[in-house]
């Protein structure tokens, strides 16, 4: 929003604002208040206008800071000339290229920040200088993001506030303000489909649908204040911060060296980046979702290994499903199979582990997990089959008992008829 505001402010807002300021300064209606800035600016239109309601919720205002802490001047003076006098330190509108420095004047001062939030980091400005945004700003490009573009201004909330523009569920939309705007990004020659792709990804689902705030958004992989692309050869380092075991397996695989040699971006080769979908076993197949045959030739040694690994996964998956089916049938027949039902989770865990081990592309390691899962699924299947046999045995017993009861009832009926005849 600030960037858009920046685009238009010199065109229309300036003359209107000057006129309104003159009218207000001539009026005697402005009485003595503690913040004369707000008395006038709350009545001004954009971009000089500041909503009093919005400002009230700003984290800085909540902590006792006011307009003068950033803009200088004298908020106690009723006279606009005095309030906005250079003598009183008034800075007026902060130049975009000055914004990081201004924010950093407090946020980079540990002694100052300690009084408000001792746990808050104070290296944001240093990080910003290392970011693509910071470097470009230093080079004179004022179209790049500065603090206020992401955090907003005059209504800035703490990142933990769900209404904050940098709350985990809102970060992607905040970045997309610029990065999804094809015309705005045109000079930089980078894609603008990241937001669309991310919205279809499993990470987005986990973050917004499941509500898991630890799920990745833009800043998780790119950094926030030090935002930059991770770099082709470092992608697996980024992914491994969450996908630890997959990364360990990948480290053992022959793919690591091969991808490095070919300058291929690790995990991204098979999983893509912003649009990562939920991986299925079909990735190992030869259908539309298959990834192996993008590099390998059908029928070669690697393709054969792929087919074997896929077959192992399918085998365990089928075994688990079969056991589940029999156990569900036994359970719906009222048989007590809760232990086996619980044990099925261990078989499912083994399958998940095997899917993780796939990243090693080593059949011997995968087989260990598959065999462990198959043993559990097989044991549970036997429990289910035994329960079903027990159910049938009970039903036969019931049938025989009912025949015996029927015979006794007939006998009693005949006897009653005999003694009453």
């Amino acid at each position: 929003m600030d960037i858009l505001r920046n685009k238009f402010r010199n065109l229309v807002a300036g003359p209107i604002a000057t006129f309104v300021l003159l009218v207000l300064s001539a009026s005697s209606a402005c009485g003595q208040t503690t913040n004369s800035c707000l008395d006038c600016h709350s009545a001004l239109p954009e971009p000089l206008g500041v909503s009093a309601d919005n400002l009230k919720l700003d984290i800085h205002v909540e902590k006792g800071l006011s307009c003068v802490n950033c803009h200088g001047g004298d908020a106690t003076a009723d006279d606009p000339d005095k309030a906005m006098s250079r003598k009183a330190g008034w800075k007026g509108k902060i130049e975009r290229k000055q914004i990081p420095q201004l924010c950093g004047s407090c946020h980079s001062d540990p002694a100052y920040m300690r009084q408000y939030n001792p746990g808050l980091r104070t290296d944001q400005l240093d990080q910003y200088h290392t970011s693509v945004h910071g470097k470009r700003l230093a080079a004179g490009d004022t179209r790049v993001a500065v603090c206020t573009d992401c955090h907003s201004v005059h209504g800035l909330r703490a990142p933990s506030d769900p209404a904050s523009t940098v709350y985990p569920t809102r970060i992607a939309a905040t970045c997309a303000h610029c990065h999804a705007d094809a015309s705005y990004m045109k000079p930089y020659g980078i894609p603008t489909n990241q937001f669309v792709n991310y919205n279809k990804s499993v990470h987005h689902d986990v973050l917004t649908v499941r509500g898991d705030l630890s799920a990745p958004t833009c800043s998780t992989c790119h950094g926030n204040h030090g935002a930059a692309p991770p770099g082709v050869d470092k992608v697996q380092n980024v992914c491994s911060t969450c996908h630890v075991f997959q990364a360990q397996m990948y480290e053992k695989s022959s793919h690591k060296g091969a991808f490095q040699a070919a300058s291929l971006p690790g995990c991204v080769v098979c999983h893509s980046n912003h649009g990562i979908t939920h991986p299925t076993d079909a990735k190992l197949g030869n259908g539309s979702e298959a990834v192996c045959l993008q590099c390998h030739t059908a029928g070669d040694v690697c393709d054969q290994a792929r087919a074997t690994m896929l077959s192992s996964l399918n085998h365990l998956d089928q075994a688990i499903k079969e056991s589940d089916q029999v156990l569900a049938m036994a359970e719906s027949s009222g048989m007590e199979v809760s232990q086996a039902r619980l044990s099925q989770n261990e078989a499912r865990d083994a399958l998940t582990k095997a899917r993780v081990t796939i990243h090693s592309f080593r059949k011997d390691l995968i087989d260990q997990d598959i065999q462990a899962g198959l043993a559990i699924a097989d044991k549970d299947l036997k429990v289910g089959q035994k329960a079903m046999a027990e159910r049938d045995y009970r039903r036969i017993g019931l049938g025989l008992s009912l025949i015996a009861i029927g015979l006794v009832l007939t006998g009693l009926r005949l006897y009653i008829r005999k003694i009453e005849s």
Binding site: S333, G334, M335, E336, S338, Q339, R394, R395, G397, L398, S401, L402, I405, G406, V408, L409, L412, R413, Y415, I416, I419, E420
Partner: protein, 361 residues
């Protein structure tokens, strides 16, 4: 056969068995188109006996305690030879017994068998029904599964709504402020000692009163017999009625066996006091009409709390129900149909509210 006859003669010589059995031999049962309703009391007694036997057998393996109860029932159902059958029969029989006890009570009301001189038989029967409901409530918690835990929590909370004595009563039932292992031990004590003791005494009193006053004939049938004395028919209790009752018991046994084998009673998931209550939790069917009524009552009726008013209303209704025959006998000249109408309204209300409660989310 001669050995048995000699043994019988030996006992008879000492106990005068023949004299003891003489009143039963003379006892007769009226025979008419509504005689089938006479079997319900006997079937309830049969199911009570099944409960006693299966309950004692379950006791051999059941261990009360929050850490052991669920596992012991699981052990009974999976490891003990025919344990599944015992537990399933005990659970199904409990439900069938409550059903037949209620059916017996409504048949007594609608056939007007509660009239003078049988008021005490009615009162002992209603108290027995309350005891049976107590068996149901206390026994439901014993497997210590999630549904039972939260149903007990809700049930005892409702008890806590009774003015003045509610809170102490709730703490007494729970053995503390919350439903814990102490509640389980307490309910176990009620279920296997206190309630069976009281119920056995009351069953004997009830049977004694039935024996003392004989079996009631519905007023309509009585009128028909006065008009046409030749229509009066009776059968001997021994062996004619007893054999028919035996047939009814066999049918009940068949139904019970079929239910236990085809629909074994589910054990559910072990109770976790720290887990949130499952959505849409409901009590057993026999408490559902009361639960649903309390749910529908507004939270405030005037200055009084709606739930408190509901609990008090049910308490009053229970007391009126207990004393119904006395209320009628004080006004012998007035038309007596109001009790039948009251019984019908109560039956329709309980059935309707139970179905509503079952379907409601």
């Amino acid at each position: 056969m001669s050995l048995l006859r000699n043994l019988g003669a030996w006992f008879n010589e000492r106990l005068d068995w023949n004299s003891l059995m003489a009143p039963l031999r003379k006892k007769t049962v009226p025979r008419h188109r509504l005689s089938y309703w006479y079997f319900l009391g006997g079937i309830t007694l049969f199911l009570f006996m099944i409960q006693v036997v299966t309950g004692i057998l379950l006791l051999l393996y059941y261990r009360p305690g929050a850490n052991e109860a669920f596992e012991s029932v699981q052990y009974i159902m999976t490891q003990v030879q025919f344990g599944w059958l015992l537990r399933s029969i005990h659970s199904w029989s409990a439900n069938l017994m409550i059903f037949t006890a209620m059916a017996h009570m409504f048949s007594v009301l609608l056939l007007k068998a509660y009239r003078k001189p049988r008021e005490l038989t009615w009162i002992s029967g209603v108290i027995l029904l309350f005891l049976v409901l107590g068996f149901g409530f206390s026994g439901y918690l014993l497997p210590w599964n999630t549904l039972a835990y939260f149903a007990t929590k809700v049930g005892t909370e409702i008890t806590g709504q009774v003015p003045i004595i509610g809170k102490p009563l709730m703490v007494f039932l729970r053995g503390g402020e919350d439903v814990t292992g102490a509640t389980l031990s307490r309910f176990f004590g009620f279920h296997v000692a206190v309630l069976p003791g009281l119920a056995t005494v009351l069953v004997l009193v009830h049977l004694l009163l039935v024996q003392r006053f004989g079996i009631s004939v519905p007023p309509k049938v009585e009128q028909e017999w006065i008009v046409n004395p030749n229509a009066r028919r009776e059968m001997k209790f021994f062996p004619n009625f007893a054999l028919r009752e035996l047939m009814a018991w066999y049918v009940a046994l068949g139904v019970l066996g079929a239910l236990a084998a085809l629909f074994p009673w589910n054990l559910g998931v072990k109770a976790d006091p720290f887990a949130p209550a499952p959505a849409g939790i409901k009590p057993e069917w026999y408490f559902l009409f009361m639960f649903q009524t309390l749910k529908l009552i507004p939270s405030k009726i005037g200055p009084i709390d709606g739930e408190v008013l509901g609990v008090l209303a049910f308490g009053l209704a229970g007391l009126i129900w207990l004393l119904l025959p006395l209320l009628e006998s004080r006004q012998p000249s007035r038309p007596k149909q109001w009790i039948s109408a009251f019984a019908l309204v109560a039956l329709v209300y309980m059935t309707g509210m139970s179905i509503y409660g079952h379907l409601a989310k």
